[in-house]
């Protein structure tokens, strides 16, 4: 029996087995559009090894974290970025 972990994706609870990257967990859900560009185009996992930054997401409050190289953890809060990253107050 596989023990499952859960994390938050845009406010919804998602359950997945441990040992996945955030991008892997999203693909497992069939959720491919990982990010939206400034012109509202959907983007997804591309290089898968941390070079292209197409899978940038806000993870636990940190903007533009690469979902393809970040292991998913219990209780993680993951938010889709629409347009440029929100760098917080003053940006």
């Amino acid at each position: 029996m596989v023990s499952m972990i859960s994390f938050q994706l845009d406010g919804e609870t998602v359950r997945c087995p441990p040992g996945l990257t955030v991008a892997g967990a999203l693909f497992r859900q069939g959720c491919l559009a990982i990010r939206q560009t400034s012109s509202s185009a959907p983007r997804s996992l591309f290089c898968g090894m941390g070079v292209c930054f197409e899978c940038a997401m806000t993870i636990d409050g940190r903007p533009s974290v690469r979902a393809c190289v970040t292991p998913v953890k219990e209780g993680m809060v993951v938010t889709t970025q629409r347009g440029p990253a929100d760098l917080g107050p003053g940006s």
């Binding site: 441990p18 290089c47 292209c52 930054f53």
Partner: protein, 464 residues
């Protein structure tokens, strides 16, 4: 500030090879890598908790074990080296903190990433590199899609295709840009490396059993879809890889894995001030190196695919030889012992040369590859720049990385030009009818990775 004898950046076969030999000779060594586990891309290990992963490559597991057992090597995973300053001094950041290393010798072994030319629809979700699909299925047991097409050139395509097939993923076809008869020459060049030929034939047999067709002299001309890609259009290619659009065909597919060989990651070497040279057959710009893989900068070595794409076996041999050369240089190894210990690795490297050269010739990027690009095709994915904007800037004389960056913002997004420049520089060469080497490499300015201000502030006094 930390001052080990050797700092190795990159924990793939090249980096692990260098660290092992340096440590065996009694040197202190720090090995840093961005991933959570050592192995690089080829020997990438699943995350420790992963339950659905395929078993990791046995030789990769062996190298990891040896590195772990070595008391002379301090392994730091999950860390990014984001520049090389005079000294050499190398800042390495992990979450929230930075350590600056000042090693007696530096080994740069960052590996390579895939070359993907722009084509209409290449930014749609579902289009990814074969490497990305491989990581999903191999280390996490996750399907990249239900109907997968692989396209591009090189032995990596059938390798990934057969891994997908074995994992039960539906693979529709493999499209190889080069003609089939070029591949028939490989047994002739590879008779001294039968294990490599056997590996390749194994992939082809897996694909044949699964009835996955390999279509030679075929290339992608367009991908269509909405929130996810739904169709791939492909066409026959001529000798220069230019598509014959009158014979265009469309197939349904939800995933396209596209890669035309690899590009060495030279940003760290560039940041160190290493002289570069253009080697088309090795993926483009590479650091100039001597026979022991020392660069033009004193004490800085560069090994593996990041110094010229040649594959994992060459990478490890290069790393081993560089590690031994450093040991000799720092007085930890007698010249006679160096000669004796490097010989088996040198022999291995020499044995690989013929098949490597043959593959380089078969898979070299041809200029027709860029003919399917349209005016509104995005060239720079990060900055969403269409070809028409870039082309008119080129026509106005912005024909180098710097000038094109100033004119259009090309290469100013988070990937720092890593994905757009290899293709754009070739398109400039085509447009201006000059050699790619005349167009020049992209520039590399630290931080080569996004670093938070908190990370910078945590650097010790002395280093700042």
């Amino acid at each position: 500030m930390s001052a080990p004898d050797v700092l190795v950046i990159g924990g793939g076969p090249a980096g692990m090879g260098a660290a092992l030999e340096a440590a065996n000779s009694g040197l202190t060594c720090v090995l840093v890598d961005e991933s959570p586990e050592l192995g690089g891309q080829i020997y990438r290990a699943p995350l420790p908790e992963a339950e659905q992963a395929m078993s990791p490559h046995p030789h990769g597991a062996y190298l990891r074990q040896k590195v772990r057992e070595s008391s002379g090597i301090e392994v730091r995973t999950g860390c990014s080296a984001w520049g090389v300053f005079e000294g050499p001094e190398v800042p390495v950041s992990s979450e929230g903190s930075t350590i600056v290393y000042r090693p007696k010798a530096l080994v740069i072994a960052p590996g390579a990433y895939e070359f993907v030319p722009p084509f209409p629809g290449w930014t749609l979700p579902g289009v990814m590199t074969p490497g990305a699909a491989q990581i999903l299925v191999k280390t996490m047991g996750i399907e990249p899609g239900k109907r997968v097409i692989l396209a591009g050139t090189g032995p990596f395509l059938p390798a990934v295709a057969s891994q997908l097939v074995r994992a039960g993923v539906g693979v529709t076809a493999v499209l190889e840009a080069s003609p089939r008869h070029h591949w028939w020459t490989l047994p002739w060049h590879g008779f001294r490396t039968p294990s490599i030929l056997r590996e390749g034939l194994g992939y082809l047999a897996t694909l044949r059993r699964a009835r996955v067709p390999i279509l030679y002299r075929r290339g992608i001309v367009e991908v269509r879809g909405g929130e996810r890609m739904t169709h791939v259009a492909h066409a026959p290619l001529d000798d220069h890889w230019a598509p014959n659009l009158s014979r265009r065909e469309e197939i349904e597919a939800d995933t396209l894995c596209v890669g035309y060989g690899f590009v060495p990651r030279v940003h760290l070497a560039q940041s160190a001030g290493c002289e570069l040279e253009f080697r088309d057959e090795q993926g483009g710009w590479v650091p100039r190196r001597d026979a022991e893989f020392a660069t033009s900068v004193e004490g800085v070595y560069s090994v593996g695919d990041g110094a010229g794409v040649a594959g994992a076996w060459s990478a490890e041999s290069e790393g081993r030889i560089a590690g031994l050369a450093i040991a000799r240089r720092l007085g930890a190894l007698e010249p006679g012992d160096f000669d004796r210990q490097q010989r088996p690795w040198r022999t291995k490297l020499d044995r690989l040369t013929p098949i490597r050269r043959a593959l380089d010739r078969i898979c070299r990027i041809r200029s027709g590859l860029f003919e399917s690009i349209q005016d509104d095709t995005l060239v720079c994915r990060c900055e969403e720049l269409p070809w028409k904007t870039v082309r008119s800037a080129i026509d106005f004389g912005a024909d180098q990385f710097r000038s094109l960056k100033v004119a259009t913002r090309l290469g100013m997004g988070p990937c720092q030009g890593r994905f757009c420049w290899p293709a754009t520089s070739r398109m400039i060469a085509r447009q201006c009818q000059v050699g790619v080497e005349q167009v020049g490499p992209s520039s590399a300015r630290p931080p080569l990775r996004p670093v938070s201000l908190g990370c910078l502030a945590s650097m010790d006094e002395e280093a700042r």
